[in-house]
C-alpha cells in the first residue's frame, strides 16, 4: 500500500508540471498562477496568425521526415545485420551505434560543428538532418533490438529450403516480418528529431526549427503563448507515439493474418 502511494506520488511529480502548462494555455489572462480566471482560446488564436512560427513548424516537419527516412534505411539494414552477425562483430557494432545516446548532446553537437567547419560545409537544413540522424539512429536501433530478439531465423531457412533465392527470402519473408517494427521505430526517430534542440543549436546556422523558435520565445518573456505552443507540441508527440504503437500492433496482426490465409 505504501509502495503504491509512493509510486503514484512520483508519477504525480512527473505529470503535474506538464498538466499545469496545459491548463494555463487556456487561461483567459496572461497570469501564470492560481487563482485560475476562466478559460479562453485567445492564445491559440494568436498563434494562428504567426507566420514565423508556421515556417519553423514546416522546417521541423521536413527535417524530422528526412531524419526518419534516413534512419529507416540505415537502421533497417543495421537490424538485418544484427540478426546475422554474432559475437565480437555484434558487440563492436553496438558500441559504434549506441554510444552517442550515452553522451551529452552537447558533445555530439560541438564535435559535429568542428567537423563541418573543418570540412568547409555550410551549416544548413542538411547539416541539421546529419546531426539528428546521429541522435535518432541509436534510439531506432535500440528499439528494434528488443523486438528483433523475437525474430525466428528458421522462417528464413524454411523459405531457402523451399528453393527461394536470397533476394526472394529477403523480399517475401524477412522484410514483411520486420517492417511493422521498423516503421514504428522510424516514427520514434521522427519524434526524436522533431523535438531535438541541444544538438540543433550547434549545427543549425541561421535556420530556425520549432524548438529553436520556442527557445527564442522563452528567452524573451514568459507568456501563455508558449504554453499554447507547448500544448500543441505535446499533443503532436502523443499522437506520433500512438501512431508508432498502433502501426507496430496492427501491421503485425495483418502480417500474421495474411500468412495464415495463404
Amino acid at each position: 500500500m505504501i509502495l503504491r502511494i509512493t509510486v503514484w506520488l512520483i508519477l504525480g511529480f512527473l505529470v503535474a508540471p506538464i498538466a499545469i502548462i496545459v491548463l494555463f494555455s487556456f487561461h483567459a489572462t496572461p497570469a501564470l498562477s492560481f487563482p485560475f480566471q476562466g478559460f479562453s482560446l485567445r492564445w491559440y488564436a494568436e498563434l494562428l496568425g504567426n507566420a514565423a512560427l508556421g515556417a519553423a513548424v514546416v522546417k521541423s516537419l521536413v527535417i524530422a521526415t528526412a531524419t526518419a527516412m534516413t534512419c529507416l534505411v540505415l537502421g533497417g539494414a543495421a537490424a538485418l545485420a544484427w540478426l546475422r552477425v554474432g559475437g565480437r562483430t555484434r558487440l563492436a557494432l553496438e558500441v559504434l551505434w549506441l554510444t552517442p545516446i550515452a553522451l551529452p548532446g552537447l558533445f555530439v553537437g560541438v564535435s559535429l560543428l568542428v567537423l563541418f567547419a573543418q570540412a568547409g560545409l555550410q551549416l544548413s537544413t542538411f547539416t541539421i538532418v546529419i546531426g539528428h540522424v546521429v541522435i535518432a539512429l541509436p534510439v531506432l536501433i535500440l528499439t528494434m533490438r528488443a523486438r528483433l530478439s523475437l525474430f525466428d531465423p528458421s522462417l528464413e531457412e524454411a523459405a531457402r529450403d523451399l528453393g527461394a533465392n536470397q533476394f526472394q527470402v529477403f523480399r517475401r519473408v524477412t522484410i514483411p516480418l520486420i517492417m511493422p517494427t521498423l516503421v514504428a521505430a522510424a516514427i520514434l526517430a521522427f519524434a526524436v528529431s522533431f523535438d531535438e534542440f541541444i544538438v540543433t543549436v550547434f549545427v543549425a546556422g541561421t535556420e530556425t526549427t520549432l524548438p529553436m523558435y520556442v527557445w527564442s520565445m522563452m528567452r524573451r518573456t514568459v507568456t501563455p503563448l508558449i504554453n499554447a505552443v507547448s500544448t500543441l507540441a505535446l499533443v503532436f508527440s502523443i499522437a506520433v507515439l500512438f501512431a508508432a504503437w498502433a502501426i507496430g500492433h496492427l501491421k503485425r496482426k495483418t502480417a500474421i493474418a495474411a500468412r495464415t490465409q495463404q
Partner: protein, 292 residues
C-alpha cells in the same frame, strides 16, 4: 553464388557503421585534435600545445562551474535513481500496469524545452509554487531563491531524466527472476527488505549504470542551467557551449569537453570501487549472503 550469413550481415551493417564513423567517430577525433590547437585573435591555428588543458585546469571559473556540475549531477542522479526504483519495482514485481508505462513514455517523449519552461513558470516569484506558499501562509514574501539557483536546475533535471531512469532500472530488474522476490516475500520480508536483500545486489550493475548515465547526461546539460541556473547555477556544459556559441575559443572549449569526459570516467571508476567496498556490487555479495 550464396553469401554466408556473416558476410551478408557485414555488408548490411556497412551503411550505418560508415555513417556513425563519419559523423560520430570522426567528429570526436577532430574535436580531440582541436583541443591541441590554439586560438589567437579570433583565428584558430593548427598547432600541438597543451595550453588549452593547462589554462582550463588553472582557471578558478572552470573549477567553480565544474564543482557545480558535479554537485548538481550527483544530487540529480541520486534523487532520480531513488525515485525511479519504486516505480520500476512496482512495474516489474507488483503489477505490470500498462497505464503507468505509457504515462512514463509520454513524459519521456514530451518536449525537453516544454518541461524546462514548466519549471520556470512553476518556480518564478509569481509562479504557482510561490502563490501556493503565500496563500498557505508558509512564507510572507515570494521566495526568489526558488528560481535561478542550483535547486531549480536540480529539480528540473530530475523531472527531465526520471522517465529515462525508470525505463533503465525497469530493464535491469527484468533480468532478476520474480520467483526470488516472491520467495523472500513469502518468508516474511517487507517490500523494502526484498529490494535491499534480493533485488539490489542482483541488479547492482544495472542500477549503477542508470546512475552514471543520468549523471553524465545531467552534468553535460547546458540548456537548463542557462534557463534556470542564474549566476550560481552555471555548469561546465554551459561554459563549453558558450565557447562554441559566443567567445569563439573552440580549442579551449574542446579541451574543457575532454576534461569533463575524463572526470566522468574517473567518477565511474570511483563509484564502482565504492560499490565493491560497500558490498553492493558482486564480489562482496557472497559475504553479505552468508551473513543474512
Amino acid at each position: 553464388m550464396r553469401l554466408s550469413n556473416q558476410t551478408t550481415g557485414r555488408l548490411l551493417a556497412a551503411p550505418a557503421a560508415f555513417y556513425m564513423s563519419l559523423f560520430f567517430v570522426a567528429p570526436t577525433a577532430v574535436l580531440l585534435v582541436y583541443s591541441f590547437w590554439r586560438a589567437a585573435s579570433y583565428q584558430i591555428i593548427p598547432d600541438f600545445v597543451f595550453s588549452n588543458y593547462l589554462n582550463a585546469l588553472a582557471s578558478a571559473l572552470f573549477w567553480r562551474v565544474t564543482g557545480n556540475a558535479i554537485t548538481i549531477g550527483l544530487i540529480t542522479a541520486a534523487a532520480t535513481l531513488i525515485l525511479a526504483i519504486p516505480v520500476a519495482y512496482y512495474l516489474t514485481y507488483v503489477r505490470k500496469s500498462q497505464a503507468i508505462l505509457y504515462l512514463v513514455l509520454i513524459t519521456w517523449f514530451s518536449s525537453y524545452l516544454v518541461r524546462v519552461y514548466a519549471w520556470r513558470t512553476l518556480l518564478g516569484t509569481s509562479g504557482v509554487l510561490n502563490t501556493v506558499l503565500l496563500q498557505l501562509g508558509l512564507v510572507d514574501a515570494p521566495v526568489e531563491a526558488l528560481l535561478f539557483s542550483r535547486f531549480a536546475v536540480a529539480i528540473t533535471l530530475i523531472h527531465v531524466y526520471l522517465p529515462l531512469c525508470i525505463l533503465l532500472v525497469a530493464s535491469s530488474l527484468r533480468d532478476i527472476k520474480p520467483e526470488l522476490v516472491e520467495a523472500s516475500r513469502d518468508l516474511g520480508t517487507s517490500q523494502l527488505g526484498a529490494f535491499f536483500r534480493v533485488v539490489a545486489p542482483n541488479a547492482a550493475n544495472g542500477l549503477i549504470g542508470a546512475f552514471m548515465l543520468t549523471f553524465i547526461l545531467v552534468a553535460g546539460d547546458y540548456v537548463t542551467p542557462q534557463m534556470l541556473g542564474g549566476p550560481s547555477g552555471q555548469t561546465t556544459g554551459l561554459l563549453i557551449a558558450d565557447q562554441f556559441r559566443k567567445t569563439g575559443n573552440w580549442p579551449l572549449g574542446a579541451a574543457q569537453a575532454f576534461i569533463m569526459f575524463a572526470l566522468s570516467i574517473l567518477l565511474y571508476g570511483a563509484i564502482t570501487l565504492a560499490g565493491r567496498w560497500s558490498g553492493l556490487l558482486p564480489g562482496a555479495r557472497r559475504r553479505q549472503g552468508a551473513g543474512a
